[in-house]
Each structure stands twice: as structure tokens, then as C-alpha cells.
Amino acid sequence: MKHNRMVTIASIALVALSGMGAVANDKLRVVATTPDLASIAREIGGDAIDVVALAKPTEDAHFVDAKPSHIVTLNRADVLIEGGAELELGWLPPLLESARNTKIAPGAPGRIVASQGIRMLEIPTSFDRSKGDVHSRGNPHFLTDPMNAKIVAANIADHLAQVDPDKAAVFKANLTKFDAAVDAKLTQWQQQLTPFSGAKIVTYHKDFPYFAERFHIEIVENLEPKPGIAPSPAHLAKVIETMKSATAHVIVVQPYQNIRTAETVARQTDAVVLNIPQQPGARKEDTTYVAMMDYMVSTLAHALSGK
């Protein structure tokens, strides 16, 4: 009978599947939603952890697919690092429902919310989607300020130590090392950008305000009229006018944004379009957070110098 045959096939398949385990070792499995968080976790965890990022460095982290393979990854995680501030709202909740992993439940030591402890910018005073897709907890692109990376690193070190107390000293030492590296780099980055203090730029999406605040750059316009809303011709005309009157000659985009729109605006304003990813790995030579920031700062400084 057909029914019996089907049950037999299913049982054989199940038995075969369940026999396949993975090789064991004693490293913590850390899952980060985005590559920037994964990179910082790698600096803090060192050899004591294995890190994987769910989002690809080149894709928009607001719109990651809730693929079943992510369910498996989260099911076996010891630690989950999420950006928070509603960045992953469209895809992380259904993954976590299916992952059935109490180690990364909200409030567990294995659950790290990176936005915790960050002074968030652009927290809306009212919730109103006629203003675009505004996040109720503020702008989630906070890692472009290196000072925030230090706060996130400390948060990660603190949680890793709770999850694996035996290695607490290692995490603490790595944190000190990371902080020192960022401090040294921050001095250098500020020196690179100081000559352009107050310089005016345009970005595609509202994803550079933390960077702008740290390095005293002024973002005079966004190509998106409102967050998440595609640029309209009328808005772009306004952007072009603003860029001309404010003498802004740089448009910053990310790999997944519409570079052609930016180039059209640039042609009419004698501006350059800079493709500056905010995720390590988007440029394959920049695999770490610091390398990614290095590229961000030097590319912008070079463009602002007009050379």
C-alpha cells in the first residue's frame, strides 16, 4: 500500500540523517547577525570561539532571507550577537522561533544585543510611517563610530566571560588589545579627517550619522527622501540644488544601494560617488572591522581633499 511505502522511506531517511553528527571541539559557537559584529567578536574571542555571520557583507542587513540553514546555525549556537534596534526585525524573529535554543533566549548570557549601552541617534519622537521606515529605537547603523565598536566589544567580552568563565581572562586581555588598537587608530583617523572638519557630504540612506558625528562631517542630504523610500526625481532635483548651494561634492553609497542613481546626481553636481561598505568582507581585502574603518576614513579623506 502506498501509505506504508511512504512511511518506510521517511523512516529510512530519518535514521540516515540523524546518524550524521558533526565533529566535536570545545570552541564556543558564536553567531552574529552581521559581519561587523562577527569581526568584533573574532577580536574578543580569538581562538576560543568560532564565529559565523548570517548576513552577507554585501547585502542590506534589513532584508536578509530567513533561510532554513540559518535555523540550523542558530539551533547550535552558544552565543547570538544581534544589532538590535529593530535592524533584524524582518527576519530574525521567525528564525529564533524555529531554532528552539534556550542558550540564546532573550535575557540569557548567550544573547548579546549590540545596541545595548549605545547612545542611539535619531530616536523618533513619534511613530509615524508617513515619515518612512523609521526605527522606533533609533538609527541602527551605529558601528561607524569606533567609540561604539569599543562599547560593543566590552559587551561581547562581558557575555563571553559569563558563557565560558574559564576563558574570562583571555576575553579580557583581547578586549584590552582591541581597545588599544581602536584608540590608536581613532587618533589617526581623526588626524586624517580633521582638515575636512565641517565638510558637507550626501549619503544614499541614513546610514552614516554616527560616523558624521564622530568625525565632524555634515550630511546635507540623503538620496532617499525618507528612510527606505526609493529616490524620486523631484527629491533628486532638490538634492542636486542643495549640493550645489552647499558645495557638497561627495556622495557615499553602500554596495547594495543603487549606484546609478548616485552617479546621475554626481554628474550634475561635479561630485564623486564613493562606494564605502559598512561591513568587513564587502571588499575582500578588508576582513576586519578596523580595516573596514581604515578604508572608510581614507577613501573619504582622499575624496574630500579633492586629489
Binding site: S18, M20, V23, P68, V72, P94, Q116, R119, R283
Partner: protein, 447 residues
Amino acid sequence: MKVARWPAAFAAAFAAFVTLAAFARTLPAQQQDTTVRRQQRMLDSLAAALAAIQARLDSAAARPAEPPQAAPAQPPSGSYMNIGFVTLVDGGTSTEQDVPSIELGDHDPVVRGFTMPNSELSLDGAVDPYFKGFANIVYKIGERGETELELEEAYALTTSLPKNLQVKFGQYLTDFGRHNTQHPHAWAFVDLPLVLGQMFGRDGLRSQGVRLSWLAPTPWYTEAMVTVANSTNETTFSFRADESFQIHGGVPVDRPVQSFEDMLVVPRIATSFDITDTQTLVLGTSAAFGPNNSGFSARTQIYGVDGYWKWKSARASQGFPFVSLQGEALSRRYVAEQRLAIDDPAVTLPADTIWDSGSYLQGLWGIRPRIVAGLRGDWVRPATEAAFVSPQRLDRFRLSPNFTWYPTEFSKLRLQYNYDNRSIFGTDHSLWVQFEFLLGAHAAHKF
């Protein structure tokens, strides 16, 4: 601590990115007084020195002395549950005057003109550390303008059972195939695939029950689940539903639950692989077993296979561009006992084993952000002759091209044409426009 090594398949694969070409932009040469330039250089170097000092001060100040609480905890936003409200409005016409005779779903257009097929209030949140709760309450306006209310789903899901187990209980869309568990908001077409309408009735397979699911410890996703639910409902069409005379043509018997055999049992197994970094495949097989009310020991079996493949660009903007293919094939074995014909009790219909089968295949192309073109083919046919000639059981083919524009994630406008060929009745043409708006909580989408 013993934990397993990451399977190589999950290692982060970083896509290469084309380096920016030359961005040299020469400023017009400016003839400036050398003294001014010298002074400017001095100012620049002073400013740089100041910035360096400032940076050191900033670093010292921001280095978290103790726990990393550099800023006060954010005030919580929202309430203890997420609330969303989504409304669909359909408009259009068909060469078939009796629209429900060709549109088989309860959330499909039902009249020439306008239909409000689905206004859905969705609630969800954590019940406590052990359960999550969900509810979908649907309002819709029927053929004659009457408002109907339906508790579509209300269920809880466990969060912390051991051994990768999970239990779901309440009223929910049963896990059979892919489309059946999706709400109209997530559908890629205006209407229900024909085969699902034919096998599960207007409202899909949905009942009160409990589901046990197990996530297998395989390197790739494999989930096995089984639902046990009530088999009497208008939403268990092929089982003990009052409307089942549409299948067997007899007077439905009033058949009480006497043993476990009288429950509806729905097993499913699904598996998924990432073929490449940008391509994912999901395969599943499902079945549904239960009693039907053509007689006191009559039974129905439904078998299904489903597949979904998706490619999404590694540099996706707002999830675009993408290409996806989704298909399901179902087969139903309906054992009807000897019964009195519903339209003429003087006639006795002989016992029958009625086989039906059908499938659909739909392709979507997300051309650029917020623009999707779709094409779906629907096939249903009776695999065996039966004593009762049911208008439900027709040889039928439908082809539906459509086009959807999403102004944002929270609204959409869709245009769809249906070429619809039914044996006996001939060919019909329908044209539908669908508008949707969403308020409140973001709809998080399952894959």
C-alpha cells in the same frame, strides 16, 4: 564544554566586491596668495594636533570603566505584544458571472466588482519564558456585503523543550506543503492555487489540534513534524466536513469520534540546502489521513510533495533582485462508501475509490527593488471516474501572469490575469487588481 565544530558549509563566504575605480577629481587650480596658504597650512596642523588630543580624551572618557554601560539602557518601546493589521482589497471582473465557482479560496475575489477578502488583525508575543502566543483574527466581506468574522488562528508555541522538540497547540493552518501555512498577505498571487482549493476547501487545511516537531541534528536543515487535529470542520474539507457532499454527492453521515482513527493526522518532513551562497532549495513531503463522512468507516488519504528554490543577489538591495520557483503536487484517495444521493434520496450511489490529483508551479522574478513579475500554472484533474459527477472534480488548467509593485514593505498593488480552462464549462478570462496595506508591527516573513 563540548560543542561541535562548524560544518564547512556554514563558514562565512565573503563575496568579492569590485574595487572602486579611480575617483580622481581635480579641483580647478586656484591661484592663491602664498602667505594665506602658509597660514592655512599652519591652521590645519594646529587643528590636527587639537583633534589628536581630543581623540585621546574621547577614548579615555568612553573606555568603559566597569561593565560596558556607556549609555543608559534604552527605554522599552512598544507593549507586551506586537499588533498588526493588514487589509486586502480586490477589484476586477471575469467572463464567469458566478465568480466563486472559479475562485476556490475564501480570500479570493468573490464578485465582479470589489471584494474585501481579508482584513486580518494579527497579535503575537512572548507569553512567558516557556511559550509564544499568536492569533490571527480575520474580518471579511462576503458576496452580499455581509461582514464575516473568523478566528483564523490562535495558538501557542513552546520555546524551551529539550531534544530539539517543539509543540504547537490551538487552531492553526496545518503544516501541509508550503502554501497552506501562508497567510493571504504573503501570497504571490491574488488567489489560492486550484489544487489546494480542491483538496482542502475554501479555507485551507486548518483545525484545532496539536503539532509535535523535531529539528533533526543533521548538518543541513531537516524538520519532521506531525499534527493531530479534529477532523470535523469546514476547514477539513476532504474529511468530516458538511460540505464534503461536493466530493462524493451523498448525504453526509453524522459520524462521531469513536477512536484515534477518527482524528486527522498530518505528518510532514522538510529539508533544505544552500546550493550556493545565493541559492537555496527547500523540499518537503506531507500527508493527511483521516475519516470522511460518506460512510461510517470511510477514509481519506492526501499525499503531497513541495519544492521551493530561490536565488537572491549577493548584493541585494531591499531583498532584490531575486528569482524563485515554487511548486506542489498533491494526490487524494477518497474512499466513499455506499450512500444516498443528496439531490435524490431514492438513488443509492455505489462505493467508490475516488482519486484526484493536481499541482501548481509558480515563478517569481524580483526585477528590481519593489517590482515583481510572476507566472503561475495550475493543473487539476480527476484521476478516476466516479458514480457522482462532481463540479468540484474537473479537468482544469489555469495560467496566471501577474505583476506586483510594492511602494514600500507596507503596501502593494498587484495586477493579475487568469486564463482559465475547465472541461465542460470552457474557457474563462479574469482580470484582477489587488491592493494591500499594512499597519503596525512589521510582518516578519518565513522563508
